[in-house]
Each structure stands twice: as C-alpha cells, then as structure tokens.
Subunit: 336 residues, 2 copies
DNA sequence: GATTACAATGTAATCGATTACATTATAGCA
DNA sequence: TGCTATAATGTAATCGATTACATTGTAATC
C-alpha cells in the first residue's frame, strides 16, 4: 500500500540509506547492491516523494514567475509563450519547474512574493516587466532572495538580469530612418514607467544625437504594447511626422492600419520580430529580439545563481531586420 | 537564526503542539495562551513552512495546469488571462495556488502529469483543450487522480467537467442566420479533434435540422482559432456562401478582413465575445461565453473535489450578442 | 474533601527522504 | 595469519510541521 523509500529498502534487504544512495548516484555503493536495489525500484515503480526531498534539502525546485496582471502585455505578447517554452525546457533539464502564477488582483504585488518566500515555496524568482523603480526588486533584495530580472535597471543598480539590447535596437532602427532623411520620427513607446521603455527612448535620443539633431519630446508617446494602442496613438497624433518607430510589432501593425486609413505613406519600424511580422502586408521591418535565447539564458542564469552563487548580468544582441514597411512607399512594394 | 515552530514554542514557553493548535485555530487552546503565542508569532514574524506542512498533510495546495504547447491557442486567446485571473482569485481564497506549466516539447504529453503525480507535487489538475479521445484523461483516471476538465466529453464519458454550452451557442448563432434566410453558412470551426469543435458542429447541425435543412459537410472547415486561420479559410473557400459562423472572435475578425478584400458582404458571427469584439468595425455579433464564471467555477469545483469528494459536472449558459456584423450589409452600418 | 468530567497542555510518533557518524566487510600487505 | 586501510552498509538524527495519546489542571458535584 504505502510506497516509500523504506518499502523499497525492506524489499531489497538493505537500509534506506543505501536506497537513497542508489537514487542519488552515490559512488559508494557496490555494483551488486546497486543493481539489486534498482531492480526493486523498477518493479515497484517507486519514485521518490518530492515534498520529503524538499523538506530535507530545503529546495523545492520551483522557480516562481509571477505574471503582473496589471498589464495585458504578457499574454497578448506572442513571444511570451516562446520565452516560457525555452525557459521550461532549460529548467526541466536540471530538475527545476516553472511555477507560473498571476498576481492577485487588488493586492500589493509584493505580497505574493512575500508569501512564496515566507512559506519557502520557491527557490528563486524570475521578474518580468521591470519597472523604473521596482518595489518587487527592492523587497527581494531586503530578503536576500534569489532572482533574475528580465530587463535592465535604468539607474545602474546592481541586480542580476538578462536583457536584450533595447537601447542598441532603438538606436539601429532610428538611425536607419534618420539615414533615410526622416526628421520627424514618431516614437510609439511602451508604458513610461517600464525600464524597457526608458532604454528604448535612450536609443531614440542617442541616434538623434549622433546626427546632431534636437529631439522634440512631443514625438515620444507612451502607450501599451498592443495593436490597438499603436493604432490609436498614430491616429490621434496631432502634427506632422515622416516615420514611425514602434516599441512592439503589434503597435507597428496598429500604426500601419492607421496610416492606411489616413492615406499616409511613411516608413514604419517595429520591435520584436514576432512570427506575424513577416506575414503582414507590407511585411514589417523590425528589431529582432532573440527571444528563445532570452528564455534559455534566463533559465540558465537562475540555475547558475542557485547552484554556484553566480551573479548573472547579460545583454543580448538584437538585429535590425529590413522588410517592406520601412521602404517608402508601401504601395509599390506590395498589393494592399 | 533558525525560525521554526519550536523556536516559537520555546520563546512562548509552550510546546510545539500548542503553537500548532494556535496556528490552526484549534478550539482547545485557552484564550490566554493563544494570545501569548500569537504575540510571539507576530514579534518573530513567524510563518509556517509550507513544505513541512505538505509532507505531513500529504497536500501541497498546488493545482497543476499544464498548457498544451502544441497549440498557440491558449496564449493567443485573450480570454485565457481572464480565466486564469478568476481561477487564481478563487483558489487563493482557500489557500491553493495554481501551478501553471508548459508541456515539454518533444515529449508525450502524459509524462508531465505522471511526474507531477508520482512526485506528489500537485493535489489536482485542471485539464485544458480536451481532445475527443484524450490520453491525459485516460491516464489520470487509471491513476485515480483528482482533476476537472474545462470542456465536455463528446462520448458521454463520466468525467468531472465545467463547460460552456458550446452546442447551444452554435445552435443560437446558426438559427439566427437561418432565420435571416441564410442557407449556405460557412462554418469556420476549430481543430477537428477537440471536443469543443465537435460540440459546436453538433449545434450547427441541430439548427439546420430544426429548419428541416440538409447540411453540406463541405461548409464545415477545420482550422485553428487564430485570426490568420479565419482569414485564410474564408479566402480560400471555393464555392458560394451567404453567411459565416466562426468558432472564435479572432477567426471572425480574420473572416471580416477576407470578406472586405473579396468585396463580399455577408453576415458574420463569432464566438467568445472578447473585449475587441465590441470595438472592431463592424462590431462583432458573437456568442458570449461567461469566461469569468468559467474560471471561478473550475476553481470552485476543484476545491469541492478535494475537500468533499464531489463530482462536478456543469454546463454554463452562453448568450448571443447581436451587433453589426450579422446585419447585412456591413457597409450601411459603419464607415469602414 | 473526594470524585468525576472535561478543558488545556505536553510528549512523542509520524510524514519520506538525506546524511553524519558508526559499524562491518573486504582487500592488501607484512 | 594478523593488521590496517578502505570500501560498503547500517543506525539514527534531522528537516518542520501535525496529531494521537498521555498527562495535568480546574471546576463542578455530592
């Protein structure tokens, strides 16, 4: 009835210690007993109880990832599932599991981190959607918890992070437009308080600086990363512009839709390179983020953090993918 | 340094048993000791170790939800985040947590369920995307595991489930179109092997039956629930049709886009009633699913299942929301 | 005051693994 | 053969809670 390590031990005529050693591949077990024990384990289909192991080892093997519910972003972001897939793959290779949870509505975001820490439910956290001043990070630091942030602090704060080169990406995209003689580039940026938005804005500014150009702040708009937001910001912008740089492909797609309705024909560049970007018409010029690599690297860093006390800090390269949408005029490039 | 139940017990001058009783609200503790112990607990900021509790109680409080990675559906489905939010809210009210994980790529989907069961990581499962013949369900039944399915078996099999009235919804939508004298209704259905698709197809057939009409099977197409799929199926359909019924709002939006390009003007009805449905042009007539209620009810059922051995089986009502897209012709109703 | 009933608390086993330390078996060598 | 070094295994404590059972305290009753 009860199937635990001592059931196996009895059946194999050894002590629980020996069974445990076999399970954990200890070298100090003779080949003969190892085989004898393995046979019993297989016959009984015994699998060690994870909870008991966790209690003893003080490690649950769970990596907490709390999805901020304030933002639709994560779930509407086609990349997120790819990120999760790659992270999951890497983690499970080392016996870890992702514990995904949604922030509780109507509750201070920090509370769920506190709960998970206090009750020792997870070994570490992955922090998504880093804010400019992030109370989750503050909290985890005061508690000496292990975590890796997807994103990069804007104030040079020392936290373990993985990020793509958002600033560099924006720089490349905007430079490309400036080189094409665009001088009034509408920048549809993400939420103002997210670090990713700030890095991209820096890239936007830097590119202008390189060309010795002043930046008119009114060209930088803050919205959410959705198609709808891109559409609305473009449509409602009052003033002339001769190019659009959007902080996500979804936004860029919204901008294209708006431009079409406005019968305006200017270059558009997006960010991400989601699968759809190559399939829209016109196809979308965009800054490709290595999302698989982000997923893998975050998982890898978490493991490194847990098993060898490393302090990961990595910025992954991005690439400007030139397609039709940045080449005026769109009408030429494709039947609409 | 070490902060556990016996630290508290010592500090309060009682036994661990008494502290445990206080923690669990046992009535057999005098008011005086209760207060004394509470004071120490608060002062030390003691929180019971979840893993130790799990070991003793044989319950982890985690509800496993494994997201099938084969399908983009879940993550592109704007409803999913709402479902998760409501389920999370209900579960956490009773001290449970959702353990969301992605199916491992390149692995038999059953394996992750086996792992979670063998290692006793979760107390129960929520099964998404029920298939016509679902090996996950088969497996969990042989293992006597607790689970609730979102969806409804098509063969009358006795499993605990929560579903919306997919058949009724399709019936209402198709009846509405038939009443408008549509006789060649293109049905953009979901994947053929999913139970939800089968139920909706039954509704489509039943509505025709009510009107004494034969059904031409070539009008029922199987695709995925994405906008792209709806677009492509509509565009590539060879033959006449005078209405479109889509199995998701995203598909319906794709169909509208295709129809516009084809300069064809027929009624379109979707399924779900996602937030965008009211904001497209034309606004989308659709079958509203009570997604919040689904989330809440699934969570509720899981808890009932765990705590009182109930066997939940519920079908939630859906409602046909009439907007512009079903009223020919679209052109009249709104500026495109 | 003695007896009884029940309330309050404590003791120690238990959940299922891991592991420091103790013990026994085996091999190597004089 | 006897002794030592080391390999192999066992014993029992431990992780941090819960709880059956034992014990003690208190109040009510005769």
């Amino acid at each position: 009835m009860k199937l635990n390590i001592s059931t196996v031990a009895k059946k194999a005529g050894v002590s629980t210690a020996t069974v445990s050693r076999v399970l954990n591949g200890s070298p100090s077990v003779s080949k003969k007993t190892r085989e004898k024990v393995m046979k019993v384990i297989e016959k009984l289909e015994y699998v060690p109880n994870h909870v008991a192991r966790s209690l003893r080892s003080k490690k649950t093997g769970l990596i907490g990832t709390i999805i901020p519910h304030s933002t639709d972003y994560v779930f509407n972001f086609p990349y997120f599932s790819i990120f999760l897939r790659e992270a999951t793959k890497r983690l499970s290779g080392d016996g870890y599991q992702l514990l995904l949870t949604i922030e509780e509505p109507d509750e201070n975001p920090v509370e769920i981190y506190r709960t998970f820490l206090d009750r020792k439910i997870v070994d570490a956290f992955i922090i998504l959607d880093l804010k400019e001043k992030d109370e989750r990070v503050e909290f985890l630091k005061t508690r000496d918890a292990k975590f890796v942030v997807v994103g990069r602090a804007v104030n040079g704060e020392e936290i373990p992070f993985i990020d793509t080169d958002n600033m560099g990406g924006a720089f490349k995209a905007v430079s490309y437009l400036l080189k094409k003689k665009c001088r009034k580039i509408l920048f549809l940026n993400g939420p103002a308080n997210q670090s990713v938005s700030i890095w991209r804005a820096r890239g936007y500014l830097d590119a202008h600086l390189k060309y010795g150009l002043e930046v008119d702040d009114s060209f930088i708009l803050n919205g959410s990363f959705t198609e709808d937001s891109g559409y609305k910001m473009t449509k409602s912008f009052e003033g002339e512009f001769d190019a659009v740089f959007a902080a996500s492909d979804l936004m860029a797609m919204g901008a294209l839709k708006a431009l079409k309705e406005m019968e305006k024909d200017v270059p558009v560049i997006g960010f991400d390179d989601i699968p759809q970007a190559a399939m829209t018409s016109p196809t979308l010029t965009t800054v490709r983020q290595p999302i698989e690599k982000v997923g893998y690297t975050v998982a890898d860093s978490i493991i490194a953090c847990l098993e060898s006390e490393e302090f990961p800090r990595k910025v992954l390269d991005v690439e400007l993918i030139i397609r039709e949408s940045s080449e005026v005029n769109h009408e030429d490039s494709k039947k609409w």
